[in-house]
């Protein structure tokens, strides 16, 4: 199993076995993801459910008591539940596509719960958990995946931008937004604000991300670049994106980078709080690499058995983000079974509501796709609309 290593200039081919040509492991198994986060990984709750001390970040999780942890657990379970329902609805022909977040719940809930109402988030397309923490109702996500709208929440009200499908593009938007916060004097004061930008390991290879990093660095923009390294960009492993651990890239741009256990909700919360604090006090930007794993397919259109082996998933199952919280609540904090039953019931209720909403969703009228193209209309679009409506009307029985 390989981990991206620090790059050192090769002295000769012989000193870098396995780099120049694939080893037999690669040949037989295909390229692999990894589950080894390395020594720098910030972790506050182990996969076995043990709370471990961390002198640097404990203070950022000091208020995480039983009640708060129960709340985080509830978030994790509910988000996973509606994510699974989304997958099923796609298989039942109710959604055109679904982008599963399975395995990344803690990375998203921890980051989302660290945000203050006045902060702004720029998601990519998998951030259903962050959406949840920003008060976007899960049903509001459905239109995107049913192909009826591009998101039906008010980004300004929720502090959560619309989903971005173009990989890495939101890093530019987020940097620009953060610059705005800076220009408006929102950095430094009591009501200080910051921006969170969510993207994946694959996105780090995009020019937009690089440009965002450079700009944010040289202008000290208050933006947290939150990279969920889920080990895969569709079928490409992180090994095909970088030769250094991603968080170390920040150093080259001149801002701090940190790797957190993305399956540890407490660590994600603490590290993101720290990162946001840095930004709010004028020390931005910060790169956080949440080291996690995409446990399901890239989307419902993808078949991961074609490029990765099941043993990888089995390793990550042992690091499940929800199970470790449950174990900690039961063993260390004495939470009773009723609590878990109750959360499960709430999750099923949410899933049923999600399903019902989806099935009942009205399809938009055919002129809808032309209706919001230009604020004041355009002759070309108007002509297309007329032609399209006439075509629809040409069917028998059309009113």
């Amino acid at each position: 199993m390989s981990t991206p290593q620090d790059w050192t200039p090769p002295t000769s081919a012989a000193t870098r076995p396995g780099r120049d040509r694939p080893g037999r492991d690669h040949v037989v198994a295909g390229l692999k993801g990894t589950d080894e986060g390395g020594a720098d990984l910030v972790q506050l709750l182990t996969p076995e459910g043990v709370r471990v001390p961390d002198p640097r970040f404990d203070s950022y999780a000091a208020d995480v008591d039983v009640e708060m942890l129960k709340g985080l657990y509830r978030d994790l379970v509910l988000v996973r539940r509606f994510d699974r329902e989304g997958n099923a609805l796609q298989r039942q022909g109710q959604l055109g596509i679904w982008v599963p977040l399975l395995g990344q719940e803690a990375a998203q809930i921890g980051a989302g719960r660290a945000m203050a109402p006045q902060d702004m988030a720029f998601p990519s397309y998998r951030e259903h958990g962050v959406a949840w923490t920003r008060g976007v109702d899960p049903t509001d996500l459905l239109g995107i995946f049913r192909g009826t709208d591009h998101g039906s929440w008010d980004p300004r009200e929720k502090g959560f931008h619309l989903y971005t499908i173009v990989i890495g593009n939101q890093c530019l938007n987020a940097t620009g937004y953060a610059m705005g916060q800076k220009f408006e004097g929102k950095v430094g004061g009591d009501d200080a604000e910051a921006t969170m930008c969510f993207f994946g390991d694959g996105a780090t290879s995009q020019g937009d991300v690089h440009e965002g990093f450079v700009w944010a660095a040289v202008y000290d923009a208050p933006v947290v670049f939150y990279c969920q390294n889920n080990q895969w960009a569709i079928s490409e492993p992180t090994e095909r994106q970088t030769r250094v651990p991603l968080y170390k890239r920040a150093q080259g741009y001149g801002f701090p980078g940190i790797r957190v256990d993305g399956n540890d909700v407490i660590a994600c919360l603490a590290v993101t709080r720290w990162a946001l604090e840095e930004c709010r006090t004028g020390n931005g930007p910060v790169l956080v690499e949440a080291f996690t794993y995409r446990m399901d397919a890239h989307t419902t259109s993808d078949d991961p058995t074609r490029y990765r082996l099941a043993d990888e998933l089995e390793l990550w199952k042992l690091k499940d983000p929800i199970e470790r919280v449950r174990v900690h609540l039961v063993r260390s904090l004495g939470v009773e079974p009723e609590f878990f039953d109750d959360v499960q019931a709430q999750a099923d209720e949410l899933a049923a509501r999600f399903r019902q909403f989806c099935v009942d969703m009205p399809a938009p009228a055919p002129d809808r796709m032309f209706s919001q193209v230009y604020a004041e209309g355009s002759p070309a679009v108007d002509a297309q609309r007329e032609e399209f409506l006439a075509y629809h009307a040409s069917f028998e029985g059309a009113s």
Partner: protein
């Protein structure tokens, strides 16, 4: 009420899927999201969860059957009363603007019964939807039906789409429009453009001389299977190879008694306890050694560059029959591996292939292929080159055979080898030397010490 669940589009823009297995039977009680069946599409194998709770009425599709997206596959009796009229209404009227300004099934998915039938255009007689594939019918007469046939040509799953072999014909939008205006069904046009694209001229000349659909007179039953997936890929690869590389095939029968004896001795050693040492491993080793003496066999004709590319490493492809079809995964840098490493690599490679887990990366970049037809019990064949490669070796069945040893007839273990090579870059001299070398090594494996 009785609900039907229609085959969903589980990828983006798939038109059909095969039901692989049913996990439920008529009369079973199912819950929402309980897995009903496994299906396979061009993209993936996935499980379909039930959209309804209730009792399974009927399975409407046999395992192995490929059905169009939108066709009902199962009926489930649910506890609820008949659905509200509104819903029934929208099911049949695809694309219609309802009284409330809504339109049903605009984006083409929605598990409603009847969703697969297309509403007729005004002033047309609806074409009968053939329940089984029928020869393509062309209509050139009525202006109205022209539009209809042009339209179905570009909408898979529409009425009559079952007639052609599934694939959507390739043509640029203006050409499609021309075809529609002229009432030409694009599926009946022979493409002449690069990459099988139908050109404007193709459409126009088709109007002049419409090709008569060849009626196939079938005696007894016929079974038609859409050409897709690995079958389609294999076909394209074989056609391109057979008609670009001039193939020469040479044969050699080899006495492999000594190699088989060596194999038995090695198998008894501790080093080989963990691996399955097959005759194929010896053949692989012999191929690597022989290619070192005749590098022309580990090379590639690069037409575009006007060059012959010689490889110093051997990426050894092994043709493997899998449940999904023929695939050729590679043993990387086979020439650097010991016999034991080769045996282990072959074992893992075939296990991976059988499990359907071979990644595209494992199949790319081969430089020479071995096909082990002997496992099917046959003696030899004339293998077709994996496109671009200079050589392919077929290994026949290994069996006791009468053989002349020192002027006397004896029973020896014999195997037939057949080598096909690309005569553009390999001449008879190199091809023969290579084959003779492989044979010599398998006859007397001790020779390897001297090379």
């Amino acid at each position: 009420m009785l609900r039907e669940f229609a085959m969903p589009d589980v990828g983006e823009g798939l038109t059909e899927a095969e039901v692989v297995t049913w996990n439920v039977a008529a009369g079973d009680v199912v819950t929402v999201n309980q897995v009903l069946c496994e299906i396979e599409t061009a993209k993936a194998a996935v499980e379909l969860p039930s959209p309804y709770a209730g009792t399974v009425g009927k399975l409407l599709v046999e395992p192995g059957q490929v059905v169009a997206v939108g066709s009902p596959i199962i009926s489930i009796e649910t506890a609820e009363a008949a659905a509200p009229a509104v819903e029934e209404d929208t099911g049949a009227k695809i694309g219609e603007v309802g009284k409330d300004g809504r339109v049903a099934n605009l984006v083409g998915y929605g598990a409603r019964p009847g969703a697969v039938t297309r509403r007729p255009r005004r002033g047309t007689t609806p074409p009968p939807a053939p329940p089984t594939p029928a020869p393509v019918q062309q209509s050139h007469s009525a202006a109205t039906s022209r539009r209809e046939s042009g339209f179905t040509a570009i909408s898979p799953g529409g009425a009559g789409a079952g007639a052609a072999a599934g694939a959507v014909p390739l043509a640029k939008p203006p050409v499609r429009k021309l075809a529609r205006d002229l009432g030409v069904d694009l599926r009946s046009v022979t493409p002449s453009g690069p990459g099988g694209v139908i050109t404007r001229d193709d459409v126009q000349s088709h109007v002049v001389t419409p090709a008569a659909p060849a009626a196939v007179a079938a005696v007894g039953g016929v079974r038609r299977e859409p050409i897709r997936g690995i079958r389609k890929h294999t076909a394209a690869a074989m056609v391109s190879s057979a008609f670009t590389a001039p193939h020469v095939t040479e044969f050699l029968a080899v006495d492999v008694t000594a190699t088989m004896a060596l194999r038995d001795r090695l198998r008894a050693t501790r080093e080989y306890a963990e691996v399955k040492l097959t005759p194929l491993a010896f053949v692989a080793k012999a191929v690597c050694l022989a290619a070192r003496r005749t590098p022309e066999l580990n090379a590639r004709w690069d037409e575009a560059a006007g060059e012959i590319v010689y490889f110093d490493r051997m990426q050894l492809g092994i043709a493997a029959a899998t449940p999904r079809g023929l695939i050729v995964p590679n043993v990387r840098d086979a020439d650097t591996l010991t016999l034991r490493e080769l045996a282990a690599a072959l074992g893992e490679l075939t296990a991976t292939a059988r499990a359907g887990r071979t990644s595209p990366a494992d199949m790319a970049g081969g430089t020479f292929t071995i096909t082990n037809v002997g496992v099917f019990g046959v003696d030899t064949g004339t293998p077709i080159l994996n496109p671009g490669e200079a050589g392919i070796l077929a290994v026949g069945a290994i069996k006791p055979t009468p053989w002349v040893v020192d002027g006397e007839l004896a029973v020896r273990t014999v195997c037939q080898l057949a080598l096909s090579f690309d005569h553009r870059l390999v001449d008879g001299e190199q091809g023969s030397r290579f084959l003779a070398d492989v044979g010599a090594l398998l006859t007397d494996p001790g020779l390897a010490l001297t090379w």
